[in-house]
């Protein structure tokens, strides 16, 4: 069951070097809490990769390790290496990475509360050196993606609703015109329509501008629909990986992540009490 050796990722694009490769990293928080126990993954240039897994599996930690944000949370990568676009991430500061085109949308709606929605979006363009008009144009594009933000553009972000904040941080990341976006739970707290909108944006940017994506997402259905490749993380280890549609048709994934064991979806009201956690590790 366990697909342990991360072979060359089988996406049919060019055999060029992957834009991101994570090699067997280990992450420790607070000097004692071991969270990632050897995670390896690759994102091909221009690919969309989904990172799936239960709560606490280590998805966020993996993403933070990639964008080098662990330091500030008293975590460190104790083993392994991460290469983004050919450079060792560990030697770069987070802002260097953004400048090189790798931006993260953090989980938990981390908008800047005292700035207005528009100011929030503009901070996303901090690293850009191009003209004001190009930035203004992108701003309009974000507003076109999220009409709700247009209504609230001059509100203090701290007072906007949860979903509005989420749109705000996604829009903020788009403002930096990245080569690669690490999306951490983009669909959290968004209305169904907007969720679809987000994934459409992902597809759009990927197709039109060749932006690569690494998606940590709980909405497995959606994620596997749009991704080319998927990794399943459990308890700090990659327990399975493969092409998205292969995963989507895998029986276990179907049962545990998609909720379609057998033919029909079970009603949430009729769930019975049973445990099945950590089945791949037993």
């Amino acid at each position: 069951m366990r697909v342990s050796t991360p072979k060359v990722v089988g996406v049919a694009t060019e055999a060029a070097a992957p834009v991101l490769s994570v090699n067997n990293i280990e992450v420790v928080y607070d000097h004692v809490i071991l969270v990632l126990k050897g995670v390896s993954l690759e994102v091909p240039r221009g690919g969309i990769v989904a990172l799936l897994g239960a709560n606490g599996a280590g998805k966020t930690t993996t993403l933070k390790a990639i964008s080098n944000l662990l330091h500030a949370e008293r975590g460190e990568v104790t083993k392994g290496s991460i290469l983004f676009d050919g450079v060792e991430v560990q030697s770069q500061s987070p802002n260097d990475l953004v400048r090189r085109g790798c931006i993260q949308v953090m989980e938990g709606r981390r908008a800047f509360p005292h700035l207005t929605v528009e100011e929030n979006l503009l901070t996303g363009a901090f690293t850009r050196r191009d003209s004001r008009s190009a930035i203004a144009q992108d701003l309009e594009r974000v507003y076109a993606y999220f009409p709700r933000l247009t209504e609230r553009r001059n509100s203090t972000a701290g007072y906007t609703s949860g979903g509005e904040q989420q749109m705000c941080v996604i829009g903020r990341a788009l403002m930096s015109r990245p080569k690669m976006i690490l999306l951490d739970e983009p669909s959290m707290g968004l209305a169904p329509q907007i969720v679809e909108e987000i994934f459409e944006i992902v597809k759009d940017l990927n197709a039109k501008e060749g932006v690569s994506f690494l998606l940590a997402e709980q909405n497995t259905n959606m994620a596997l629909k749009y991704a080319g490749h998927g990794y399943i993380l459990e308890n700090g280890r990659v327990v399975m990986d493969g092409e998205a549609h292969a995963l989507a048709t895998n029986e276990d994934v179907k049962e545990f992540y998609l909720g379609v064991a057998g033919a029909k979806r079970k009603s949430y009201r009729d769930i019975k009490h049973y445990k099945r956690r950590k089945r791949w590790l037993a």
Binding site: L69, R110, F112, H114, N120, F126
Partner: protein, 306 residues
């Protein structure tokens, strides 16, 4: 009437002198959420560096104007070095910690600066005379004896005004200003959108250092450059919170309120209850203002949401 005006004007002016110190606090708080207790020590350091360099240069036969230019340059370099050291070794590694920890670390920094500054530059009183210290007596026609206005205070107020205008523009109108406010809100999120926090912090601490240098020229002229200058930090605090920790114009407004309030209280209320009340009066005033507006007069609203 004459006396009242005089006390009022004197109070307003000396309040503005405190604003000069408070400004440094605001700068750093606005840009990193750090409540910088070391601002007083930085004024001392800047002052000592300046006055010692001046003495040395004058003693070596430089003309006064050249000595002043070189001295200010030297002391600016010292402040830049300090800013760099602080960012590199203290505040940088403490990114994403809560405000209290950062506040405490700046008290640590205060100790280091006080020790180092006195060790390097000496612990005597060093007179500094960059501004006139005598007084004008205005409106002598209207009031017997006229109304006393200290020239130094006027200079201080002028300088503070210019600084405030400049800094306020910088914060509100520029991209960097926006980034600074973002950093103060959320270090980690600022990291994640690619704001170079280290560089930004270096710049702000440098700016605060230069503001400290300016404050040192005025206060050094007033008191002589000496250890007691570090106590200015405590006098600047009520100014700061009345104006609001995040507001640059607020620093001036706070200064005016505190200055006028405490001087009037001391002169008119003090004698009847024993005098020496201005130290706490400023704080009680601040407390009263906060009860009405918990974020100070011009501070950003404190966001409370669930």
């Amino acid at each position: 009437m004459g006396q009242f005006l005089e006390v009022l004007i004197g109070g307003l002016m000396s309040g503005v002198l405190y604003s000069l110190v408070a400004l440094g606090f605001v700068l750093i708080f606005k840009a990193s959420g750090v409540f910088n207790f070391a601002q007083g020590a930085m004024v001392l350091l800047a002052g000592l560096a300046l006055v010692r360099a001046l003495d040395l240069l004058v003693a070596n036969g430089f003309p006064l104007w050249a000595a002043i230019v070189l001295g200010i340059g030297f002391s600016a370099v010292i402040m830049a070095t300090t800013a760099w050291l602080i960012e590199r070794f203290v505040i940088g590694p403490l990114v994403n910690q809560d405000g209290l920890t950062l506040f405490m670390s700046t008290i640590g920094v205060t100790f280091v600066i006080e020790g180092a500054a006195e060790m390097i530059f000496g612990s005597d009183v060093y007179p500094l005379r960059l501004f006139p210290t005598d007084a004008w007596f205005v409106l002598e026609g209207l009031f017997p004896g006229g109304i006393l206005v200290n020239k130094l205070d006027v200079w201080g107020a002028l300088i503070a005004g210019i600084l405030v205008a400049g800094l306020a523009l910088f914060f509100q109108r520029t991209k960097t200003g926006r980034a600074l406010r973002a950093v103060a809100d959320d270090h980690l999120a600022a990291h994640s959108v690619g704001i170079p926090i280290s560089w930004i912090w270096f710049v702000v601490w440098l700016a605060a250092g230069l503001v400290a240098l300016v404050a040192a020229t005025v206060w050094g002229t007033k008191l002589g450059v000496q250890f007691s200058i570090t106590f200015l930090a405590l006098k600047a605090l009520p100014v700061l919170i009345i104006g609001g920790l995040t507001s640059i114009p607020g620093a001036i407004a706070g200064g005016l309120i505190v200055g006028a309030g405490e001087k009037i209280a001391e002169v008119y209320l003090g004698p009847s209850i024993g005098g020496g009340i201005e130290y706490w009066f400023a704080y009680v005033l601040a407390l009263a203002v906060l009860l009405v507006r918990p974020q100070g007069l011009f501070g950003e609203r404190i966001i409370e949401r669930v």
